[in-house]
């Protein structure tokens, strides 16, 4: 039995490596695509990330608007350039800029007044490219912080602030509609600000402390990416190489199924069935060769990622190998299922590629599964590729121990059994007469 098994497996592997298209699709394609995805999704975080292109239309040209412009330009996430109104609108329309911020005339003075009095607030218009809505929200947050800081600073220490405070104090004193108690309190507040400004000007302090720096965020953010260990940076290539390995190994599974259908079509199945070989040996040998091919693809693809992009198995090596093996077995039984359900190679190929791409998509190989709606995330728990991705992520960049691999391995082996039982029960054993 071993002679026949060895011959069957060796023949499958030789046929696989004789097919240049299959080799390129299995080894080169995942490396190329994973490299691309890894790069654009952050890579190893050593390269400079792309900045958001923002145009600034300053129709005010006041100290406040100028300071906002400068503050935005200093932000390392933004690429801020000045522009005219019409040019800005055209640039956003053409997609040359993600958005444009228009600071209207008299913005500085009106914002100062609105700071102390319930008057109409000036408007900052934002033109944005609808395909960049995420960037629009981010820039709007940065803009809010910048405007608050610049306007408050100017109100408590700048020339515009002094005149606005004087103007506001006079307006409060002359106001007839205000409650006496409120009027007194507001008067005291504005007078205190005026005295603050006078003292600051007398001592020459412009940014020494207190509110002279403007209203600032009352907290600092300390960012820490939680990866395998302290000091180990997240490597985006780990996820992309895992995802593309999963996708292209499933294509290997399809080739296994199509190969069996082609054998049937070419009469080879008759010759194999005429030999004194059990059904278990015939299908088992195919499953073994598919599992070996899948393991080879995983090892080559991750080997490339290790050497070129520094992707490491930060977690359990045994867990990583376990997930790879379980996924390889799952791929093999998936291939047998393709052969069992398929009629002709031509018709089966298109349908099985569609099923594979859906499995890969739901598994989170293209975009992380946490971006899916909650109900869809629940559904993906029944998709084996989701477990393969979770297992590979856990053993690579998350750096988790073997215990974190047990559930993915179990789920993948369960899928192997389900696909295998379905395949064997639906397989057409008779070679047609």
């Amino acid at each position: 039995m071993m002679i026949a098994l060895r011959a069957l497996v060796r023949k499958d592997l030789r046929l696989f490596f004789a097919d240049r298209r299959a080799v390129i699709m299995s080894f080169v394609a995942p490396i190329v695509i994973a490299s691309f995805f890894g790069y654009i999704f952050g890579g190893s975080q050593t390269q400079e990330t792309s900045k958001i292109a923002v145009l600034m239309v300053d129709q005010d040209a006041s100290p406040i608007s100028t300071a906002i412009f400068a503050d935005l330009q200093a932000n390392k996430s933004l690429d801020v350039k000045g522009s005219g109104l019409d040019a800005a609108r055209e640039s956003v329309r053409k997609g040359n800029a993600a958005l444009a911020v228009i600071i209207p005339k008299d913005f500085g003075a009106e914002a100062g007044r609105a700071f102390f009095r319930p008057e109409k607030k000036p408007e900052i218009a934002v033109f944005y490219d609808p395909s960049h809505s995420a960037e629009q929200q981010m820039v709007q947050g940065v803009l809010t912080g910048s405007v608050m800081q610049v306007v408050s600073k100017e109100m408590f220490s700048g020339a515009t602030g002094e005149s606005v405070v004087k103007e506001s104090l006079a307006a409060v004193d002359q106001s007839a509609g205000l409650d006496a108690g409120d009027k007194r309190s507001l008067h005291d507040l504005l007078q205190s600000v005026e005295q603050w400004n006078q003292r600051a000007r007398a001592t020459g302090a412009t940014g020494g402390g207190g509110l002279s720096g403007g209203v600032r965020m009352p907290y600092e953010v300390r960012e820490e990416a939680i990866t395998a260990r302290t000091g180990v940076q997240y490597n985006g290539y780990a996820h992309s190489f895992g995802g593309m390995s999963v996708q292209f190994i499933l294509f290997v599974g399809i080739d296994v199924g199509i190969g069996l259908l082609l054998q049937r079509q070419r009469g080879l199945w008759k010759r194999l069935r005429a030999a004194p070989l059990s059904r278990g040996l015939l299908l088992g040998s195919r499953a073994i060769s598919a599992a070996i091919t899948s393991m080879l693809v995983l090892l080559v693809v991750f080997g490339f990622a290790r050497v070129v992009f520094g992707v490491k198995i930060e977690g359990s090596m045994a867990g990583f190998i376990g997930v790879c093996l379980a996924f390889s077995f799952m791929t093999a039984s998936f291939g047998l299922l393709v052969a069992a359900l398929g009629k002709t190679p031509e018709a089966t190929r298109g349908l099985s590629i569609l099923v594979t791409l859906i499995m890969v998509m739901l598994g989170g190989a293209w975009v992380p599964a946490f971006l899916f709606p909650q109900w869809l995330q629940t559904v993906t728990m029944f998709v084996p590729t989701r477990w393969a991705m979770d297992g590979l992520d856990a053993m690579t960049w998350r750096g988790l121990g073997f215990s974190a691999a047990i559930q993915p391995i179990g789920a993948l082996l369960l899928s192997t059994v389900i696909f295998g039982v379905l395949a064997v029960s639906r397989f057409r054993w008779d070679a047609e007469g």
Binding site: I3, G267, K270, R271, R279
Partner: protein, 310 residues
């Protein structure tokens, strides 16, 4: 050696084999003849263990194949109608692979591959990929693949389909060699001349049933016009076919252009009467040959129907 007993196989309402029985003795070569769709391939598939019959049985040396891995299968070599070979592998590697399926390994496997390649005359092509072979070479290798484990019985399902006359002759030579070595051959075809060259006996089937099981001479005896005389006449215009058909020795007569085709029972006693009639009617001819009736003629005589295409 092989005993086929009342085999029946249906595909839905379609009867592929409807109760076929025949026997093949050791060393005998049997032609299984019939039109397309008669049930030849299904019968071969059942004998080789590829298909299970709905009823009936096949005994090989008194025993039925009992399972997929029954060692009894070692006695059978199947040459499928399809070119069941891996184009991506060399001729030698194809043979080595098929030999290994029958537990051949090491020097025994190498010897078997060399012998099979030698028999079919492909030794010098051993290292070349099968994808580069001509149709005739592939057919020969298709035969060689079935010989790797030195089976006693060869089941040949139309092994000369689509090959040129030269390759067909080469395959016949190979089969005659195997016959001399004492192999038992079951050969399906729809060409009477192939059966005539190779077979000791023919089993003619139609609609899944045996309609004749005899030696070729025995089959020809069942046909009134067991021999055909073909004349190239100088001029067939105005010839009275009814008068020719009225001769006691003539079974049939037809003219196409200047080609006259006359069916007779016994060549040696009936042919002179035809020649004399042509001479007395002033019908000169430039060429005359005699030939056996083809399957079309045999079939028509046995069933009263023309051969179906499907």
């Amino acid at each position: 050696m092989i005993e086929v007993k009342d085999l029946r196989k249906n595909y839905g309402t379609n009867v592929a084999v409807g109760g076929i029985s025949f026997q093949i003795e050791r060393g005998e070569t049997i032609g299984l003849l019939g039109p397309n769709g008669a049930g030849k391939t299904t019968t071969v598939a059942i004998i080789s263990g590829l298909l299970r019959p709905d009823s009936g049985e096949v005994l090989i040396e008194g025993r039925a194949i009992s399972g997929d891995s029954d060692p009894l299968k070692h006695k059978i070599g199947l040459v499928p109608q399809d070119l069941a070979l891996y184009d991506e592998l060399s001729a030698h590697d194809n043979l080595s692979f098929f030999g290994a399926l029958y537990r051949l390994d090491g020097p025994a496997l190498a010897r078997a591959a060399a012998a099979a390649l030698d028999l079919v005359g492909l030794t010098d092509k051993a290292k070349e990929k099968v994808g580069t072979f001509s149709g005739g070479m592939k057919r020969r290798l298709n035969l060689a693949a079935a010989l790797m484990h030195d089976p006693d019985i060869l089941l040949l399902d139309e092994p000369t389909v689509g090959v040129d006359p030269q390759s067909r002759n080469a395959i016949f030579d190979n089969l005659e060699t195997l016959k001399k070595r004492g192999k038992t051959l079951l050969y399906t075809t729809h060409y009477m001349e192939e059966a005539e060259r190779l077979c000791d006996r023919v089993v003619i089937i139609d609609h899944g049933k045996v309609i004749a099981n005899d030696t070729l001479h025995g089959v020809y005896r069942l046909i009134p016009a067991a021999n055909m005389l073909l004349f190239d006449l100088d001029n067939a215009e105005g010839m009275s076919l009814d008068e020719l058909r009225g001769l006691p020795s003539v079974r049939s007569a037809d003219v196409t252009g200047n080609n006259l085709r006359v069916g007779v029972g016994n060549l040696s006693t009936d042919a002179p009467a035809v020649l004399q009639w042509l001479q007395s009617n002033g019908r000169a001819y430039s060429h005359v040959v005699s030939e056996r009736p083809d399957l079309e003629t045999v079939f028509l005589n046995l069933t009263g129907r023309k051969l179906r295409d499907s």
